[in-house]
Amino acid sequence: MFVTFVYDMAYLLPLLGGALLGLGRFFEIEDAGVWHFAVMLLAAVVCEIFRVVNSRGRLVMAVMGLLTAVSIAVLTEPGQRIELYNKCVPYINCVIMTLVCFVLMIFLVKFRKVRIILALLLTAGMITAAIMDIELHKLVVASAFFIIAAVMADIIQVRWKKSGYTDAGKHFVYILPFIFVMCIVVFAVPASEKAYDWGFVKRFASYLQEKYNEIAHGIVLSRSDDYFASVIGFSERGEVSGDSYKEPEEMIELVYENGFSTDVYLSGKHFDTFNGREWLVLNNSKIDDAMFDLIASRACANKYNTNVTDIMRTVKLQLEFKNQKTAYMFMPLKSLLTESQNKLKTLNQGGNRMFEKKMGYKTAYKLNYYKLNRNADNFIGFIRAEHELDTKTWDREAILYRNRDERLYTYEQYQQWKQMVFDWYGQKVELSSELRSYMDKIYEGAEDDFDKLVRIEALLKGFDYTNTPGELPARVNSPASFLDYFILHKREGFCSYYATAFVLLARAEGIPARYVQGYHVKSGNSNTTMVTSDMSHAWPEVYINDFGWLPFEPTPGYGRTVSWMTREEEQALKEKLKETAEEYIHDEYEPVDITAEEEEPEEEEEQETFDWRLIVFPAALGIVLIPLFKIIERLADRRRFRKKSQKDKIADICHRNMKLLGMSGYKMENGETLAEFGKRVMEKEETDLNNFIGEYELLSYSTVRDEEKSLCTVYEAYLELQLLFKKKHKFRYLLYKINNTSIRIRTIEE
């Protein structure tokens, strides 16, 4: 009975849950809750008891239920009946749904095919709901899975050949805990509304990709740099001629740590000597050109008696090499290295900051560089001004970079650096007479060297840009011949041509200048920018006395867009905005506070009272009716007994006697005969059962000859066994007396 009960409930409960949550809304059950399910559960248990338990108690339960319903209907005032009914409709519907589910459950447990069909329908239904984006409650889904899992287990059990007793229902009941816990887990695990993005898989794949790139680059880029000139777009050899084909490859990743990206020129290598066809680095100086340039610029800016941020602003940058393998450290002008991966060792050679060895994929370092307010009038005025750094001004700035080593960046070393700059980057260039005349016309009216440089820049910007200027003629073999060819004839080329021409023209005016190769990175919308090989570029840098290096951009199509407002300009703009805004403020209307909520009128609280009569009356009725019912039942039983034949009476009493013995703790074992059983009982109890056993044996295996005597004998045993039972279990005896009709027979003496 336990197995049947659990098996039925195992199928019924998911049906109830699914019905309540899935179909409740169609039965006027809004916001299905615990109480609704409790009602359904109660109804289900009652139905199941009716089905499984073979007892007259079922009738009592039915009567009680009916009485309760009748009492409620009778005791409720006519005017309130409809209201009561409306309140009870959801619960009544719950009971109706329970009955429907119960009927369905009966078919489920009886017919395997029905179970399979239901499982398939549930699967199809859920798939349809998923495709059509129909919202389903998790409990409904878990309930459906429970039924599907149960059917799966059932099918497997049926096909499974096992020896001995195998009952599919019992099997299911006793593996139920595992299936139930599985469905609980399904219910409990959070289910996102969005499809899974496989973030960890993507991250892992990305990690593998990075690792592969690292290995691949390590293998591929271990060859000569020159081989990759066309790949990386940056050649350490500074060749000018030829066509420039730049296939975009990711070279360096830039991360701007304090905001969005900005235009930046990443210097890679500086060249000092041009032989007419290519730039060379003949300077062997070990002076740290970048640091002296930085200190000089900062010292000048601080001395200029203006807000330094109007001239230069700090940008924090992080660089990481990708498809790059070089010893040259890519840095913007005016940079200060702050951190390098594993404290990479660097050296200075020929005006270039370099790594001690070639570095490749994943090489990373951080730096701060001072972005110049290049296009601002304020800055140009500052550049044009006379700068002379004395020892005091120099030391005041240099002390910030010395790291407590007084031997670093002294004023004397600064002077040596300046001399080096003039020696290597101020090499005089003699122009041809034709070019000299041409340039003199260009310089006509120039106020100073800076003006000349601006005019040179403007002149070159007026030429055409081309990536395929062709080979340089063989006659071009000196700076002068190059300038003649390019300025007076060719007038087109790519960045290297323009940078070269600018540097040479500047040097022709006695202004130290150098040719720089690197990357021109344009500003973007995020703080991370990938420097690709097609961003490779060449540009000139000019030495401004005591300030340091200043970049120019003579290449057509390239422009410097760096400028920002000075503090004074910002202040002036704010004042103007404030004035403008004040003109449009109106004072006519009072401000309305829209945040205040409207106060709702207070509702009178209704006081609900519970009518205890709904419980007391049916209970009282039950107390009266149930004993009456029992009395009627006993009278009917006794009448039935009296109507039986003698033989049937004997059999009836024998069965009662065996039942009493069973309740007293004595049950016949497998293979035990009646005589052995009786002997076993009598060994432990004082009751003499020999006569009863004898009569029972005759009844069972033979024929009873003297039925009257036999009846008396078994009746006497019946009375004795009742006493025995009473002695052993008083309370259970009481229950036995209540539930069982005692019989009486007239003895022979009577």
Partner: protein, 386 residues
């Protein structure tokens, strides 16, 4: 089982695709369900593995080869959930459980068990384990199964059986029982090859001249007619599946032959190796029990070899007193041939029973006079072979 796993894998992959394209309790529910089903199956198997009880018992711990003895085992479920699939496999190398199939699968409901009473038969003599070897547990979805070894083994000691031979084909009882008369060398004189240490007074010059080698008379005095059996005492392998059958058959053959000869009134002298060469003589059937006891407790050892056995046996004068010699061996060696020749030249017939399944182990170029080699397969019925 494989089919179920494949189905589960396909469903799991489909659920992976489902959650990649759509969210919600259905797709994630499917994925969760198909992911945890195998997990729970394994948990279930592990729980059953540690909660499962098996009891087995043999009626006797000392058995005899080939004789049936009662055996029962009980599989018990003492928990509140079902053990869905239990399969029991028995040890079959040296014993067999009658009437039970190792492929039968049982289900045990809570607080129930399965009891089986049957019979056990052991095939070989020795001390070994019998009964349930392994238990295979399968989960309720038939996805996975695990096999674990039964730790509560039943060890039995099996005695060799006595095969009662009514006749031995190759043995001539008359020769074995009577004195040797006209055997070719000299009337009434039995001689053998001279061995260093023999008394020169016993040199039989006539036979020596005839045979062109020194021959001495056999011990003069009361002749002791009988059969000598030299038993191979070596263990030829480390694996019980290899050495137990061979040793069993050797002992069985020796016991059967000894009993046969004793039954026919022929004393038997047995030689074998223990720490040194051991010899036991049984005059009649009443002494057989004692001999059986010795053979029962005899241990074959791997350090021994036939070369030593037959060399030492050949040096004994006593063996030349026998009317017939029987060698029961597993492997051939030159010393066996040498001794057989020596015996043959002393007019003592030799029968060699080679307990070996490999026909090539039997030397093909046996041209020793009065020497027969009979191969006895390890699993052969002695009554048919002998």
């Amino acid at each position: 089982m494989r089919r179920n796993r494949i189905i589960l894998l396909i469903l799991w992959i489909i659920s992976l695709v489902g959650i990649s394209f759509a969210g919600g309790p259905v797709t994630y529910g499917f994925f969760t369900l198909f992911t945890i089903v195998p997990v729970f199956s394994w948990i279930y198997i592990l729980i059953v593995r540690f909660r499962f009880r098996i009891y087995q018992q043999s009626e006797a711990r000392t058995l005899v080869v080939g004789r049936k003895v009662g055996f029962k085992f009980n599989l018990q479920n003492e928990d509140l959930y079902a053990f869905a699939g239990i399969r029991v496999q028995f040890l079959t190398d040296f014993s067999s459980v009658i009437g039970l199939d190792g492929n039968e699968e049982y289900e045990l409901f809570p607080m129930t068990g399965i009891s089986k009473e049957t019979e056990l038969v052991c095939k070989y003599r020795g001390r070994y384990e019998v009964g349930v070897d392994r238990i295979i547990i399968t989960d309720y979805f038939r996805l996975f199964s695990t096999t674990f070894k039964n730790k509560r083994m039943v060890e039995v000691y099996v005695q060799p059986r006595l095969v009662h031979l009514t006749e031995v084909r190759h043995a001539n009882l008359t020769v074995a029982a009577t004195k040797d008369t006209a055997m070719g060398d000299s009337a009434d004189i039995l001689t053998r090859e001279y061995m260093p240490g023999d008394d020169i007074r016993y040199i039989h010059w006539k036979n020596s001249a005839r045979r062109q080698q020194l021959m001495v008379r056999k011990t003069i005095g009361e002749d002791q007619p009988g059969v000598g059996i030299i038993m191979d005492s070596c263990r030829y392998s480390d694996k019980p599946t290899e050495y137990l059958p061979v040793e069993n058959k050797i002992l069985e053959t020796v016991l059967a032959l000894v009993y046969y000869y004793l039954e026919n009134g022929i004393p038997v002298q047995n030689l074998y190796l223990e720490k040194k060469l051991a010899m036991s003589r049984t005059e009649n059937v009443s002494g057989y029990d004692s001999f059986y006891g010795k053979m029962n407790s005899f241990e074959f050892k791997s350090g021994r070899n036939n070369k030593t056995l037959f060399t030492m046996a050949g040096s004994l004068n006593d063996i030349y007193k026998n009317r017939m010699m029987v060698f029961v061996i597993h492997e051939w060696c030159a010393e066996i041939a040498k001794l057989a020749e020596a015996l043959s030249s002393s007019n003592i017939p030799v029968i060699i029973y080679m307990i070996n399944d490999n026909a090539e182990a039997v030397p093909v170029d046996n041209n020793i006079n009065r020497c027969k080699i009979i191969r006895v397969p390890v699993e052969a019925d002695l009554k048919e072979v002998l």
